[in-house]
């Protein structure tokens, strides 16, 4: 409860603060301060169950340890994002405090879609999350690509929203209780009623769109590439994992009993997502675009949780969201500061910026899933969950083949940084973009993020133990 209200309130404060903030740096500090406050209040709620607000939500929201742990991860990821890339948000345009305000509104949507108990709140959460993103995508007003990306994102998003509403209507009409509550969509073990089945498929499509699962992923590379890179970083991490939490909670609570009837459909979507994401990423020259496809590939792995839907899957998804977000936010923070966004732009980075190169390597190793990193533990739990489920074994093998492919493109960046010499123009100019200064604080934060990833790689129980079923 704390997080939902405080993010909304802080978003409004940031918005009106824009009138009073004199310096361009002020909004960042306010945003960080507010976020720290929200994280603490959310952590208090997670450990003690105490909420500052006593509001009767009529059971439309639920605050169990799973939901709150996820919110903590989303908030901590955002904090890391603010700390690492906050100064880059200032460079996008003049309305700095509005960008921060919009991000806080997105966070409010994230919290809603993690705690919803009825389909109505799910809809609200997804929309509150999406609409500020359309604006952020187009925030680089003078850039045609940014405009195109925003329009594309908006049209596709609106379309998927329509499908979601349609699905909700079908489910509402189809269940015997006539209820929006996800746990009340009371279908027994038998065959799904037709209306509910149609509704479920619509929901599946709409949510697949939000988490950019194939074949609904086509918007992702264009939008991620067109949007200002700072906001791509946020969209590819916090927003995406929130989509997954919404996804798994809906399927677990509403359709868990009829898993056998939709499992094949989800496994096909998972396999396609893994395939398209990994295979296309191999051929990318631009690191930004490669990360867009890699985010599709990682989504494929996270879909294994929806596929398996057991306690291991739930734990694994939480860990995966943390591992994936931390590593990706770190990588994007480095990418934003690069002069050249292609893989060749990373050539020889280890010589000129050893700290950046070493931390980027740890992030990439984590995304690949090498032991000692959080990425390994989360991929491992996903595989355990999928194998424990016991159906569709081919999917597991498909997933590991795709994971081996992913090593190819992640290691291409590592190779560029350590083993290749920088080209002449990069040597003259330097690997780092003009005006992007690599401060000691920035390096320290990168190291901190890397340590966090390794720590979770050795002791994943730091996160998984806070979830009780």
């Amino acid at each position: 409860m704390n997080a939902i209200l405080l993010t909304a309130i802080w978003g409004i404060i940031m918005m009106f603060g824009g009138v009073f903030f004199k310096s361009k740096q002020t909004p960042k500090y306010w945003a960080i301060a507010g976020l720290v406050l929200i994280i603490i209040s959310n952590y208090v709620e997670l450990t003690t169950g105490a909420s500052f607000f006593d509001i009767d939500t009529k059971f439309m929201l639920s605050f169990n340890s799973f939901n709150l742990t996820f919110i903590t991860i989303a908030l901590v990821s955002t904090l890391l994002y603010f700390l690492l890339s906050g100064s880059d948000i200032e460079k996008v345009g003049d309305n700095v405090s509005e960008y921060f305000a919009l991000i806080f509104f997105v966070l409010c949507g994230v919290c809603l879609s993690a705690t919803y108990n009825t389909l109505l709140i799910l809809f609200l959460g997804i929309e509150i999350m999406s609409i500020p993103l359309y604006i952020l995508t187009g925030s680089d007003k003078r850039n045609l690509k940014s405009n195109e990306a925003a329009l594309k994102y908006f049209l596709m998003g609106a379309f998927s929203t329509g499908i979601m509403l349609m699905g909700i209507a079908f489910i509402y009409g189809g269940n015997s209780e006539g209820s929006f509550f996800i746990s009340n969509i009371n279908i027994g073990e038998g065959k799904m009623p037709v209306l509910i089945a149609i509704g479920m498929v619509f929901m599946l499509i709409a949510l697949s769109f939000k988490v950019s699962a194939a074949p609904f992923h086509f918007w992702t590379p264009d939008v991620y590439e067109g949007a200002p890179t700072v906001f791509t970083s946020f969209m590819a991490t916090v927003v995406k994992i929130a989509g997954f939490i919404a996804f798994i909670r809906l399927f677990e609570n509403s359709f868990g009993k009829v898993q056998a009837q939709w499992q094949l459909l989800v496994s096909v979507i998972t396999a396609a997502t893994l395939f398209i994401g990994n295979l296309t990423a191999v051929f990318q020259q631009s690191v930004k675009r490669m990360l867009a496809y890699s985010s599709i590939a990682q989504a494929g792995f996270m879909l294994l949780a929806v596929f398996a839907l057991n306690t291991t899957a739930m734990q694994g998804l939480i860990l995966y969201s943390a591992a994936y977000s931390f590593a990706t936010i770190g990588l994007f923070a480095i990418l934003i500061r690069m002069y050249d966004y292609t893989i060749d732009g990373f050539n020889g980075l280890a010589k000129s910026q050893p700290v950046l190169a070493v931390t980027a390597t740890i992030f990439l190793l984590s995304l690949t899933g090498i032991p000692l990193t959080a990425g390994f533990q989360s991929k491992f739990l996903m595989l355990v969950a999928a194998i424990r489920d016991g159906h569709h074994h081919w999917l597991v093998f498909w997933a590991i083949i795709c994971a081996a492919v992913s090593a190819y493109y992640y290691f291409k960046i590592i190779q560029a940084m350590f083993f290749k010499e920088a080209a002449q123009d990069i040597l003259e100019h330097g690997s780092i973009a003009v005006g992007a200064n690599i401060t000691t604080g920035f390096k320290a934060l990168l190291i901190l993020t890397a340590i966090l990833i390794i720590l979770l790689g050795i002791f994943p129980s730091l996160i998984t133990d806070s979830i009780h079923f």
Binding site: Q315, P371, I387, P460, S461, T464, D465
Partner: protein, 492 residues
């Protein structure tokens, strides 16, 4: 976790790990070098202590497990058995030898080089020590990563492509291993939803049906076969050996390939006995084909490094065939041969490195007459070459003889065909010795000088080891017997 719980197995892993991390922060090259030499020597002493105190339960660390991932039942459990003692000793010993032999080489960013070098040692130790499947997988991968960076940064001209192939190959193999481990893990414990466990004992106790064993066997086997490597998974190996810096090639061929052989004995034989019986012909067939094929290619090689690489494939093929003959005598032979092969091949690499460092080439066609210029080197090399062909009195003879007698008991035809590889080994090894060391000196080899004292010392230590374990192999038998006995009883 501390105090009396730190036992020899823990030290064997932790010491190189910590020493490696410290090395990263030593900026001066000579200090980093001296520090890493000191630390590998200490590791060797710990390993000798582990053999000396082998009857002391408390020091052997058979008792203590630290629960690591409680919710999924994985623990940090490290233990030494006879085979583990032998292989950890091989690891400790060869790292000392490698460092002394390459003591004069200079590397850019030496601190990183030696740091990764020691981390690789820690990973290897962990592989030979862990008795928990997940921990084993951890170390299995951790041994790979430092070696990948060592090869790609300090290797030869085509290093990036070659080591990348190596990495992708082994990484894909390990993922299959991971899936296999998870499958077995989910079948441990009494029921489908009771607490599962990653420990070796639980894995050995698990009841697997024939069809489950059949596919799990291949998941494990492919990972190990890529590492060894067994035909047809060997294509990464010659390129990587050629491109890697020689000290890393020594690690790769001396110790790392033993990970695969060790994995078969430790994890495959006791857990999937039915599948082993079912696929023994396939695997032995592949191994024998690989032996002959690699030996034939070795004869045609002009590059000394590639020759040694192919010779290594042939030797490993024999070990794999020996394992799958499932005879006690062959299994004991395999363990002894792992040790012997590690020492011999490192000796061979050292000689190749010495030649290349002095003359700048390792092409057989460009060399000749080194015996006139460097008689000591020649004598030592000839002994190592004899060990490579497994002549009596050398260490390799004991192991190869035992493996062949096991293979003979299993099927006389396999033994006959595999026996051809001994003749072929003599052909390529002696041919190499003849062309490189005898004959007339030419314009390139004129400048050859006798090797220096540290190189002599290293090669002499190796030669002493070759004779010592060749003439008096009894201590090795005692170490291996205990580990092999429980496995061979399964197949009786």
């Amino acid at each position: 976790m501390f105090g009396n719980y730190i036992t020899i197995p823990h030290l064997l892993v932790l010491f190189p790990l910590l020493a490696g991390i410290i090395t990263f922060f030593i900026k001066k090259e000579s200090t980093a070098k001296a520090w890493s030499l000191l630390s590998v020597v200490i590791t060797l002493l710990i390993s000798i202590a582990s053999i000396y105190f082998r009857n002391n339960k408390e020091l052997s660390g058979l008792t203590y497990n630290y629960m690591w991932l409680k919710s999924i039942g994985s623990s940090i459990s490290l233990a030494l058995d006879g085979m583990g003692r032998l292989l950890t000793f091989l690891t400790a010993f060869s790292f000392v030898i490698i460092l002394i032999a390459n003591y004069k080489s200079t590397y850019k960013n030496a601190n990183v080089f030696y740091g990764l070098f020691l981390l690789a040692q820690a990973g290897l130790m962990g592989v030979f020590l862990s008795t928990d499947a997940l921990l084993f997988y951890f170390f299995w991968e951790l041994a790979l990563i430092p070696v990948y960076f060592l090869c790609s940064y300090w290797g030869g001209e085509k290093r990036i492509a070659a080591t990348f192939k190596f990495f992708i190959y082994t990484f894909a193999g390990s993922l299959f291993l991971l899936v296999g481990i998870i499958y077995v893990y989910l079948l441990t414990g009494a029921t489908r939803y009771s607490d599962h466990n990653f420990s070796l004992t639980a894995f050995r106790a698990v009841v697997l049906y024939a069809n489950q064993q059949n596919f799990l066997f291949w998941l494990f086997f492919i990972a190990f076969a890529i590492k060894m490597p067994i035909f047809p998974f060997h294509t990464w190996q010659p390129d990587t050996y050629e491109q890697a810096p020689t000290s890393v090639t020594m690690i790769l061929s001396g110790v790392m390939v033993k990970m695969g052989v060790f994995g078969l004995i430790r994890w495959v034989l006791p857990i999937f006995p039915m599948a082993v019986l079912k696929f023994d012909n396939v695997v032995i067939g592949l191994s024998v084909i690989g032996m002959i094929y690699a030996s034939l290619i070795a004869i045609k090689q002009d590059d000394l490094k590639r020759l040694a690489a192919y010779s290594s494939i042939a030797h490993i093929g024999l070990m794999c065939a020996g394992i799958f003959s499932m005879q006690t005598v062959a299994l004991e032979g395999v363990v002894i041969q792992m040790f012997a092969h590690g020492i011999n091949i490192i000796g061979l690499w050292i000689v190749i490195e010495l030649i290349e460092r002095q003359l700048g080439t390792r092409k057989i066609s460009q060399l000749g007459g080194l015996a006139h210029k460097a008689p000591v080197l020649t004598i030592l090399l000839v002994i190592i070459a004899f060990a490579n062909i497994a002549l009596p009195l050398t260490n390799a003879f004991v192991g190869e003889f035992m493996m062949f007698s096991g293979l003979f008991k299993f099927n006389i035809w396999y033994a006959a065909v595999a026996g051809l590889s001994i003749i072929l080994a003599a052909v390529y090894t002696l041919n190499m010795v003849q062309k490189v060391f005898y004959g007339e000196t030419n314009s390139i080899t004129k400048s050859m000088k006798e090797i220096s004292w540290n190189e002599k010392l290293v090669l002499m230590v190796i030669v002493v080891m070759i004779f010592l374990t060749g003439v008096f192999p009894q201590p090795l038998f005692e170490l291996t017997k205990i580990s092999v006995a429980p496995i061979s009883t399964i197949f009786k």
